[in-house]
Protein backbone atom coordinates (compact mmCIF):
# COMPACT_ATOMS: atom_id res chain seq x y z
CA UNK A 1 0.00 0.00 0.00
CA UNK A 2 1.41 3.35 -1.06
CA UNK A 3 1.63 6.44 1.10
CA UNK A 4 -1.49 8.59 1.15
CA UNK A 5 0.69 11.62 0.83
CA UNK A 6 2.01 10.50 -2.55
CA UNK A 7 -0.03 11.34 -5.62
CA UNK A 8 0.32 8.87 -8.44
CA UNK A 9 0.71 10.51 -11.84
CA UNK A 10 -1.36 8.78 -14.49
CA UNK A 11 -0.46 10.89 -17.52
CA UNK A 12 0.64 14.33 -18.61
CA UNK A 13 -1.33 16.97 -20.47
CA UNK A 14 0.79 19.74 -21.96
CA UNK A 15 3.48 18.83 -19.50
CA UNK A 16 1.14 18.99 -16.55
CA UNK A 17 1.08 15.81 -14.52
CA UNK A 18 -2.42 14.48 -14.01
CA UNK A 19 -2.89 12.33 -10.95
CA UNK A 20 -5.62 9.82 -10.15
CA UNK A 21 -7.46 12.13 -7.74
CA UNK A 22 -7.74 14.74 -10.49
CA UNK A 23 -9.10 12.21 -12.97
CA UNK A 24 -11.60 10.88 -10.47
CA UNK A 25 -12.58 14.45 -9.56
CA UNK A 26 -13.15 15.19 -13.22
CA UNK A 27 -15.30 12.11 -13.53
CA UNK A 28 -17.26 13.02 -10.41
CA UNK A 29 -17.67 16.61 -11.62
CA UNK A 30 -18.78 15.45 -15.05
CA UNK A 31 -21.22 13.05 -13.48
CA UNK A 32 -22.61 15.70 -11.15
CA UNK A 33 -22.98 18.28 -13.90
CA UNK A 34 -24.55 15.77 -16.31
CA UNK A 35 -26.90 14.47 -13.65
CA UNK A 36 -27.80 17.96 -12.55
CA UNK A 37 -28.41 19.05 -16.12
CA UNK A 38 -30.52 16.01 -16.95
CA UNK A 39 -32.55 16.31 -13.76
CA UNK A 40 -33.05 20.07 -13.96
CA UNK A 41 -33.56 20.59 -17.67
CA UNK A 42 -37.32 19.98 -17.64
CA UNK A 43 -38.65 21.38 -14.43
CA UNK A 44 -42.35 21.91 -13.99
CA UNK A 45 -44.49 23.60 -11.37
CA UNK A 46 -46.04 20.24 -10.61
CA UNK A 47 -43.01 18.08 -9.80
CA UNK A 48 -42.59 14.38 -10.47
CA UNK A 49 -40.62 12.04 -8.25
CA UNK A 50 -37.18 12.98 -9.52
CA UNK A 51 -37.90 16.69 -9.44
CA UNK A 52 -39.30 16.37 -5.93
CA UNK A 53 -36.06 14.64 -4.91
CA UNK A 54 -33.76 17.35 -6.27
CA UNK A 55 -36.07 20.06 -4.87
CA UNK A 56 -35.81 18.32 -1.51
CA UNK A 57 -32.02 18.47 -1.82
CA UNK A 58 -32.08 22.18 -2.68
CA UNK A 59 -34.57 22.93 0.08
CA UNK A 60 -32.43 21.02 2.58
CA UNK A 61 -29.29 22.95 1.59
CA UNK A 62 -31.23 26.23 1.78
CA UNK A 63 -32.65 25.26 5.15
CA UNK A 64 -29.19 24.44 6.55
CA UNK A 65 -27.76 27.70 5.27
CA UNK A 66 -30.73 29.70 6.57
CA UNK A 67 -30.61 28.07 9.99
CA UNK A 68 -26.86 28.42 10.33
CA UNK A 69 -26.20 31.84 8.79
CA UNK A 70 -29.58 33.53 9.35
CA UNK A 71 -29.42 34.94 5.86
CA UNK A 72 -31.08 34.28 2.55
CA UNK A 73 -29.33 31.23 1.11
CA UNK A 74 -29.22 32.19 -2.58
CA UNK A 75 -25.67 33.69 -2.68
CA UNK A 76 -24.17 30.72 -0.81
CA UNK A 77 -26.27 27.88 -2.13
CA UNK A 78 -24.10 26.95 -5.11
CA UNK A 79 -20.81 26.93 -3.18
CA UNK A 80 -22.02 25.13 -0.07
CA UNK A 81 -24.29 22.74 -1.94
CA UNK A 82 -21.62 21.86 -4.49
CA UNK A 83 -19.13 21.38 -1.68
CA UNK A 84 -21.41 18.92 0.04
CA UNK A 85 -22.33 17.02 -3.13
CA UNK A 86 -18.72 16.80 -4.35
CA UNK A 87 -17.30 15.60 -1.02
CA UNK A 88 -20.18 13.14 -0.54
CA UNK A 89 -19.77 11.58 -3.97
CA UNK A 90 -15.99 11.71 -3.66
CA UNK A 91 -16.11 9.92 -0.32
CA UNK A 92 -18.51 7.28 -1.64
CA UNK A 93 -16.49 6.79 -4.83
CA UNK A 94 -14.03 4.78 -2.76
CA UNK A 95 -16.62 2.01 -2.65
CA UNK A 96 -16.06 1.37 -6.34
CA UNK A 97 -13.41 -1.24 -7.02
CA UNK A 98 -10.06 0.26 -8.00
CA UNK A 99 -11.14 3.81 -7.31
CA UNK A 100 -9.50 5.82 -4.57
CA UNK A 101 -11.63 8.69 -3.32
CA UNK A 102 -10.18 12.09 -4.22
CA UNK A 103 -10.85 13.25 -0.68
CA UNK A 104 -8.36 10.62 0.52
CA UNK A 105 -5.76 12.77 -1.24
CA UNK A 106 -4.36 15.57 0.87
CA UNK A 107 -4.11 17.98 -2.06
CA UNK A 108 -7.83 17.68 -2.84
CA UNK A 109 -8.86 18.37 0.77
CA UNK A 110 -6.34 21.19 0.97
CA UNK A 111 -7.76 22.70 -2.23
CA UNK A 112 -11.28 22.55 -0.80
CA UNK A 113 -10.13 24.03 2.51
CA UNK A 114 -8.29 26.85 0.74
CA UNK A 115 -11.42 27.57 -1.30
CA UNK A 116 -13.45 27.70 1.92
CA UNK A 117 -10.82 30.05 3.40
CA UNK A 118 -11.00 32.31 0.35
CA UNK A 119 -14.78 32.14 0.24
CA UNK A 120 -14.92 33.37 3.83
CA UNK A 121 -12.90 36.40 2.80
CA UNK A 122 -14.89 36.87 -0.41
CA UNK A 123 -18.31 36.69 1.18
CA UNK A 124 -17.19 38.71 4.20
CA UNK A 125 -15.79 41.52 2.06
CA UNK A 126 -18.80 41.44 -0.25
CA UNK A 127 -21.18 41.73 2.68
CA UNK A 128 -19.44 44.40 4.76
CA UNK A 129 -16.47 45.62 2.76
CA UNK A 130 -12.83 45.20 3.73
CA UNK A 131 -13.30 47.32 6.83
CA UNK A 132 -16.27 45.31 7.93
CA UNK A 133 -14.56 42.03 7.26
CA UNK A 134 -11.37 43.04 9.09
CA UNK A 135 -13.51 44.31 11.95
CA UNK A 136 -14.59 40.74 12.56
CA UNK A 137 -11.05 39.97 13.71
CA UNK A 138 -11.45 42.55 16.48
CA UNK A 139 -14.50 40.77 17.86
CA UNK A 140 -15.15 40.63 20.76
CA UNK A 141 -12.02 42.71 21.58
CA UNK A 142 -9.07 44.10 19.60
CA UNK A 143 -6.90 42.02 21.85
CA UNK A 144 -8.31 38.99 20.09
CA UNK A 145 -7.02 40.04 16.64
CA UNK A 146 -3.91 37.78 16.72
CA UNK A 147 -5.88 34.86 18.05
CA UNK A 148 -8.68 35.37 15.53
CA UNK A 149 -6.18 35.58 12.71
CA UNK A 150 -4.48 32.38 13.80
CA UNK A 151 -7.86 30.75 14.28
CA UNK A 152 -8.80 31.61 10.71
CA UNK A 153 -5.75 29.78 9.45
CA UNK A 154 -5.90 26.86 11.82
CA UNK A 155 -9.56 26.17 11.31
CA UNK A 156 -9.00 25.91 7.57
CA UNK A 157 -6.08 23.59 8.32
CA UNK A 158 -8.17 21.52 10.68
CA UNK A 159 -10.93 21.41 8.09
CA UNK A 160 -8.93 19.56 5.48
CA UNK A 161 -6.95 17.52 7.95
CA UNK A 162 -10.19 16.24 9.49
CA UNK A 163 -11.62 15.29 6.15
CA UNK A 164 -8.40 13.82 4.92
CA UNK A 165 -7.85 11.83 8.12
CA UNK A 166 -11.32 10.35 8.25
CA UNK A 167 -11.53 9.38 4.60
CA UNK A 168 -7.97 8.20 4.33
CA UNK A 169 -8.28 6.13 7.49
CA UNK A 170 -11.48 4.56 6.22
CA UNK A 171 -9.80 3.65 2.95
CA UNK A 172 -6.81 2.26 4.81
CA UNK A 173 -8.88 0.22 7.20
CA UNK A 174 -10.94 -1.26 4.39
CA UNK A 175 -7.81 -1.97 2.41
CA UNK A 176 -6.13 -3.68 5.38
CA UNK A 177 -9.25 -5.73 6.15
CA UNK A 178 -9.62 -6.73 2.50
CA UNK A 179 -6.03 -7.79 2.36
CA UNK A 180 -6.43 -9.83 5.54
CA UNK A 181 -9.94 -11.27 5.47
CA UNK A 182 -11.11 -11.41 1.87
CA UNK A 183 -14.03 -9.82 0.06
CA UNK A 184 -17.08 -10.36 2.32
CA UNK A 185 -15.76 -9.23 5.67
CA UNK A 186 -15.17 -5.53 4.72
CA UNK A 187 -18.80 -5.02 3.75
CA UNK A 188 -19.86 -3.77 7.21
CA UNK A 189 -16.84 -1.52 7.20
CA UNK A 190 -17.82 -0.25 3.78
CA UNK A 191 -21.24 0.58 5.15
CA UNK A 192 -19.56 2.37 7.99
CA UNK A 193 -17.38 4.13 5.43
CA UNK A 194 -20.52 5.35 3.62
CA UNK A 195 -21.86 6.70 6.86
CA UNK A 196 -18.54 8.31 7.70
CA UNK A 197 -18.32 9.79 4.22
CA UNK A 198 -21.80 11.32 4.49
CA UNK A 199 -21.11 12.67 7.96
CA UNK A 200 -17.77 14.13 6.87
CA UNK A 201 -19.36 15.78 3.83
CA UNK A 202 -22.03 17.24 6.05
CA UNK A 203 -19.49 18.40 8.65
CA UNK A 204 -17.25 19.97 6.00
CA UNK A 205 -20.18 21.82 4.42
CA UNK A 206 -21.62 22.93 7.74
CA UNK A 207 -18.25 24.13 9.00
CA UNK A 208 -17.75 26.05 5.76
CA UNK A 209 -21.15 27.60 6.33
CA UNK A 210 -20.27 28.52 9.90
CA UNK A 211 -16.92 30.02 8.85
CA UNK A 212 -18.58 32.11 6.14
CA UNK A 213 -21.24 33.20 8.63
CA UNK A 214 -18.52 34.29 11.06
CA UNK A 215 -16.96 36.31 8.25
CA UNK A 216 -20.27 38.13 7.92
CA UNK A 217 -20.27 39.08 11.60
CA UNK A 218 -19.47 42.73 10.92
CA UNK A 219 -20.60 45.81 12.73
CA UNK A 220 -20.25 47.84 9.59
CA UNK A 221 -23.47 48.87 7.84
CA UNK A 222 -24.38 47.61 4.41
CA UNK A 223 -25.44 44.04 5.08
CA UNK A 224 -28.97 44.00 3.81
CA UNK A 225 -29.24 40.25 3.57
CA UNK A 226 -28.66 39.80 7.29
CA UNK A 227 -31.71 38.94 9.28
CA UNK A 228 -32.43 39.55 12.90
CA UNK A 229 -31.72 36.42 14.94
Amino acid sequence: MKSPLVTECLFHVAGIPIGAPVVVSWAISAGLVASGYLLARRLTLIPDGKQALIELLVETVDSQIRDTMRVEPAPYRAFIGSLFLFILIANWSGLLPGVEPPTACLQTDAALAVLVFLSVIYFGVRAGGWRGYLATFASPSPLMIPLNFVETLTRAFSLFVRLFGNVMSGVFVIGIVVSLAGLIVPIPLMGLHMLTGAVQAYIFAILATVFIAEGLESHAPGKPEREAP
Binding site: L5, T7, C9, I16, P17, I18, G19, P21, V22, S25, W26, S29, L32, V33, G36, Y37, L39, A40, R41, L43, T44, L45, P47, Q51, I54, E55, L57, V58, E59, D62, A74, R77, A78, F79, G81, S82, L83, L85, F86, P102, C105, L106, Q107, T108, A110, A111, L112, V114, L115
Partner: protein, 246 residues
Protein backbone atom coordinates in the same frame (compact mmCIF):
# COMPACT_ATOMS: atom_id res chain seq x y z
CA UNK B 1 6.06 17.28 -4.80
CA UNK B 2 5.53 18.95 -8.15
CA UNK B 3 2.69 16.58 -8.87
CA UNK B 4 1.17 17.45 -5.52
CA UNK B 5 1.10 21.16 -6.24
CA UNK B 6 -0.34 20.54 -9.68
CA UNK B 7 -2.91 18.31 -8.15
CA UNK B 8 -3.75 20.98 -5.62
CA UNK B 9 -4.14 23.61 -8.31
CA UNK B 10 -6.10 21.36 -10.66
CA UNK B 11 -8.44 20.33 -7.88
CA UNK B 12 -8.98 23.96 -6.95
CA UNK B 13 -9.82 24.94 -10.51
CA UNK B 14 -11.83 21.77 -10.96
CA UNK B 15 -14.00 22.55 -7.98
CA UNK B 16 -14.48 26.18 -8.99
CA UNK B 17 -15.61 25.03 -12.43
CA UNK B 18 -17.87 22.47 -10.81
CA UNK B 19 -19.43 25.16 -8.63
CA UNK B 20 -20.03 27.37 -11.65
CA UNK B 21 -21.48 24.56 -13.76
CA UNK B 22 -23.72 23.23 -11.03
CA UNK B 23 -24.83 26.75 -10.21
CA UNK B 24 -25.74 27.32 -13.84
CA UNK B 25 -27.32 23.96 -14.66
CA UNK B 26 -28.65 22.73 -11.36
CA UNK B 27 -28.90 25.03 -8.35
CA UNK B 28 -30.35 28.10 -10.05
CA UNK B 29 -32.97 26.31 -12.20
CA UNK B 30 -34.18 24.22 -9.29
CA UNK B 31 -34.24 27.21 -6.93
CA UNK B 32 -35.98 29.23 -9.61
CA UNK B 33 -38.75 26.70 -10.08
CA UNK B 34 -39.17 26.47 -6.31
CA UNK B 35 -39.36 30.24 -6.10
CA UNK B 36 -41.76 30.34 -9.04
CA UNK B 37 -44.00 27.83 -7.33
CA UNK B 38 -43.84 29.82 -4.11
CA UNK B 39 -44.65 32.99 -6.00
CA UNK B 40 -47.55 31.24 -7.70
CA UNK B 41 -48.76 29.97 -4.35
CA UNK B 42 -48.44 33.48 -2.94
CA UNK B 43 -50.29 34.86 -5.94
CA UNK B 44 -52.98 32.24 -5.53
CA UNK B 45 -53.24 33.02 -1.84
CA UNK B 46 -53.33 36.73 -2.58
CA UNK B 47 -55.91 36.12 -5.27
CA UNK B 48 -57.87 33.91 -2.91
CA UNK B 49 -57.65 36.59 -0.26
CA UNK B 50 -58.69 39.20 -2.78
CA UNK B 51 -61.56 36.98 -3.91
CA UNK B 52 -62.54 36.41 -0.32
CA UNK B 53 -62.39 40.13 0.37
CA UNK B 54 -64.42 40.77 -2.76
CA UNK B 55 -66.90 38.10 -1.73
CA UNK B 56 -67.12 39.58 1.75
CA UNK B 57 -67.61 43.00 0.24
CA UNK B 58 -70.24 41.64 -2.12
CA UNK B 59 -71.93 39.93 0.80
CA UNK B 60 -71.86 43.13 2.77
CA UNK B 61 -73.21 44.97 -0.25
CA UNK B 62 -75.92 42.35 -0.63
CA UNK B 63 -76.78 42.68 3.06
CA UNK B 64 -76.83 46.42 2.75
CA UNK B 65 -79.03 46.19 -0.33
CA UNK B 66 -81.24 43.69 1.43
CA UNK B 67 -81.59 46.09 4.31
CA UNK B 68 -82.30 48.79 1.77
CA UNK B 69 -84.91 46.57 0.16
CA UNK B 70 -86.48 45.94 3.55
CA UNK B 71 -86.53 49.63 4.25
CA UNK B 72 -87.89 50.31 0.77
CA UNK B 73 -90.51 47.61 1.25
CA UNK B 74 -91.57 49.14 4.56
CA UNK B 75 -91.67 52.53 2.90
CA UNK B 76 -93.74 51.24 -0.02
CA UNK B 77 -96.08 49.41 2.35
CA UNK B 78 -96.49 52.52 4.46
CA UNK B 79 -97.11 54.56 1.33
CA UNK B 80 -99.61 51.97 0.10
CA UNK B 81 -101.31 51.96 3.47
CA UNK B 82 -101.45 55.74 3.44
CA UNK B 83 -102.80 55.84 -0.10
CA UNK B 84 -105.30 53.10 0.69
CA UNK B 85 -106.44 54.99 3.78
CA UNK B 86 -106.78 58.17 1.77
CA UNK B 87 -108.63 56.31 -0.97
CA UNK B 88 -110.85 54.68 1.64
CA UNK B 89 -111.58 58.05 3.25
CA UNK B 90 -112.22 59.61 -0.14
CA UNK B 91 -114.45 56.69 -1.10
CA UNK B 92 -116.31 57.02 2.17
CA UNK B 93 -116.73 60.73 1.65
CA UNK B 94 -117.82 60.16 -1.92
CA UNK B 95 -120.14 57.36 -0.85
CA UNK B 96 -121.61 59.54 1.85
CA UNK B 97 -122.06 62.34 -0.69
CA UNK B 98 -123.62 59.92 -3.15
CA UNK B 99 -125.83 58.51 -0.42
CA UNK B 100 -126.88 62.02 0.55
CA UNK B 101 -127.54 62.83 -3.09
CA UNK B 102 -129.46 59.61 -3.58
CA UNK B 103 -131.33 60.24 -0.37
CA UNK B 104 -132.16 63.75 -1.50
CA UNK B 105 -133.11 62.48 -4.93
CA UNK B 106 -135.21 59.76 -3.31
CA UNK B 107 -136.78 62.28 -1.04
CA UNK B 108 -137.50 64.54 -3.99
CA UNK B 109 -138.79 61.62 -6.01
CA UNK B 110 -140.94 60.50 -3.12
CA UNK B 111 -142.21 64.05 -2.70
CA UNK B 112 -142.90 64.27 -6.40
CA UNK B 113 -144.57 60.90 -6.35
CA UNK B 114 -146.57 61.94 -3.32
CA UNK B 115 -147.44 65.19 -5.05
CA UNK B 116 -148.32 63.36 -8.24
CA UNK B 117 -150.33 60.87 -6.25
CA UNK B 118 -152.07 63.70 -4.45
CA UNK B 119 -152.75 65.35 -7.75
CA UNK B 120 -154.04 62.11 -9.21
CA UNK B 121 -156.16 61.51 -6.17
CA UNK B 122 -157.37 65.07 -6.28
CA UNK B 123 -158.23 64.68 -9.93
CA UNK B 124 -159.98 61.42 -9.15
CA UNK B 125 -161.71 63.10 -6.25
CA UNK B 126 -162.74 65.92 -8.58
CA UNK B 127 -163.97 63.44 -11.11
CA UNK B 128 -165.73 61.58 -8.38
CA UNK B 129 -167.21 64.85 -7.17
CA UNK B 130 -168.30 65.65 -10.71
CA UNK B 131 -169.81 62.21 -11.05
CA UNK B 132 -171.54 62.60 -7.71
CA UNK B 133 -172.65 66.10 -8.66
CA UNK B 134 -173.86 64.91 -12.07
CA UNK B 135 -175.86 62.14 -10.46
CA UNK B 136 -177.24 64.56 -7.90
CA UNK B 137 -177.99 67.11 -10.59
CA UNK B 138 -179.77 64.42 -12.57
CA UNK B 139 -182.17 64.00 -9.63
CA UNK B 140 -182.87 67.73 -9.46
CA UNK B 141 -185.66 69.44 -11.35
CA UNK B 142 -184.15 70.42 -14.74
CA UNK B 143 -186.31 73.52 -15.23
CA UNK B 144 -185.62 74.86 -11.75
CA UNK B 145 -181.91 74.29 -12.15
CA UNK B 146 -181.94 76.02 -15.51
CA UNK B 147 -183.83 78.93 -14.06
CA UNK B 148 -181.37 79.18 -11.21
CA UNK B 149 -178.38 79.08 -13.51
CA UNK B 150 -180.07 81.60 -15.82
CA UNK B 151 -180.50 83.96 -12.88
CA UNK B 152 -176.85 83.44 -11.81
CA UNK B 153 -175.72 84.04 -15.39
CA UNK B 154 -177.62 87.33 -15.64
CA UNK B 155 -176.22 88.33 -12.27
CA UNK B 156 -172.66 87.61 -13.43
CA UNK B 157 -173.25 89.57 -16.62
CA UNK B 158 -174.58 92.43 -14.58
CA UNK B 159 -171.55 92.24 -12.29
CA UNK B 160 -169.23 92.53 -15.26
CA UNK B 161 -167.62 95.89 -15.91
CA UNK B 162 -169.42 98.01 -18.45
CA UNK B 163 -166.67 97.85 -21.06
CA UNK B 164 -166.64 94.05 -20.84
CA UNK B 165 -170.38 93.98 -21.20
CA UNK B 166 -170.15 96.30 -24.20
CA UNK B 167 -167.49 94.03 -25.69
CA UNK B 168 -169.79 91.06 -25.26
CA UNK B 169 -172.65 93.05 -26.72
CA UNK B 170 -170.56 93.95 -29.77
CA UNK B 171 -169.55 90.38 -30.45
CA UNK B 172 -172.41 89.87 -32.84
CA UNK B 173 -172.92 86.16 -32.28
CA UNK B 174 -173.01 84.67 -28.84
CA UNK B 175 -173.02 80.98 -28.11
CA UNK B 176 -175.10 79.72 -25.22
CA UNK B 177 -173.91 76.38 -23.91
CA UNK B 178 -176.08 74.15 -21.71
CA UNK B 179 -175.72 70.68 -20.23
CA UNK B 180 -179.08 69.58 -21.52
CA UNK B 181 -181.08 70.68 -24.58
CA UNK B 182 -183.25 73.77 -24.06
CA UNK B 183 -186.75 73.87 -25.29
CA UNK B 184 -187.50 76.56 -27.89
CA UNK B 185 -189.53 78.59 -25.45
CA UNK B 186 -186.84 78.41 -22.88
CA UNK B 187 -184.30 79.31 -25.51
CA UNK B 188 -186.22 82.47 -26.41
CA UNK B 189 -186.54 83.49 -22.76
CA UNK B 190 -182.89 82.79 -22.08
CA UNK B 191 -181.90 84.80 -25.14
CA UNK B 192 -184.15 87.63 -24.15
CA UNK B 193 -182.87 87.84 -20.55
CA UNK B 194 -179.23 87.61 -21.61
CA UNK B 195 -179.73 90.24 -24.27
CA UNK B 196 -181.40 92.43 -21.63
CA UNK B 197 -178.51 91.85 -19.25
CA UNK B 198 -176.02 92.82 -21.94
CA UNK B 199 -178.15 95.70 -23.13
CA UNK B 200 -177.89 94.67 -26.80
CA UNK B 201 -179.89 92.81 -29.37
CA UNK B 202 -177.85 89.75 -30.25
CA UNK B 203 -178.27 86.54 -32.17
CA UNK B 204 -177.71 83.44 -30.12
CA UNK B 205 -176.67 79.93 -31.04
CA UNK B 206 -177.22 77.02 -28.70
CA UNK B 207 -174.95 74.14 -28.04
CA UNK B 208 -175.14 71.21 -25.69
CA UNK B 209 -172.17 70.05 -23.57
CA UNK B 210 -173.07 67.31 -21.06
CA UNK B 211 -169.76 67.86 -19.33
CA UNK B 212 -171.16 71.00 -17.81
CA UNK B 213 -173.31 68.74 -15.58
CA UNK B 214 -175.66 71.60 -15.09
CA UNK B 215 -175.65 75.30 -15.97
CA UNK B 216 -175.64 77.90 -18.70
CA UNK B 217 -172.51 79.49 -20.09
CA UNK B 218 -171.96 82.35 -22.47
CA UNK B 219 -169.22 82.12 -25.00
CA UNK B 220 -167.89 84.47 -27.61
CA UNK B 221 -164.77 84.21 -29.68
CA UNK B 222 -162.98 86.47 -27.23
CA UNK B 223 -164.78 86.13 -23.93
CA UNK B 224 -166.64 83.49 -21.97
CA UNK B 225 -168.76 83.61 -18.89
CA UNK B 226 -168.54 80.39 -16.91
CA UNK B 227 -171.64 79.42 -15.12
CA UNK B 228 -171.90 75.68 -14.54
CA UNK B 229 -171.22 73.09 -11.96
CA UNK B 230 -168.32 71.92 -14.02
CA UNK B 231 -166.77 75.36 -13.82
CA UNK B 232 -167.57 75.60 -10.13
CA UNK B 233 -166.08 72.17 -9.38
CA UNK B 234 -162.99 72.96 -11.43
CA UNK B 235 -162.49 76.16 -9.54
CA UNK B 236 -163.04 74.42 -6.23
CA UNK B 237 -160.61 71.71 -7.20
CA UNK B 238 -158.05 74.30 -8.21
CA UNK B 239 -158.48 76.12 -4.95
CA UNK B 240 -158.07 72.84 -3.02
CA UNK B 241 -154.91 72.06 -4.93
CA UNK B 242 -153.63 75.53 -4.35
CA UNK B 243 -154.26 75.18 -0.63
CA UNK B 244 -152.47 71.82 -0.50
CA UNK B 245 -149.41 73.24 -2.24
CA UNK B 246 -149.30 76.04 0.25
Amino acid sequence: MTTSWWTFGLQTVNFLILVWLLSHFFWRPVAAVIERRRQMARDLLDQAQADRDAAAQALEEARRRSAGFEEEREKILAEAWREASEARSAALVQAEAEIATLREQSRTAIAQEEEEAARVWTARAGELALTVAARLAARLDGAAVTETFLRWLTDKIAALPADVRSTLGAAGEVEIVSAAPLEPGLQRRVGAEIGAALGASLSFSYRIEPDLIAGLELRTPHLSVRNSWRADLTQILAEINHDERI
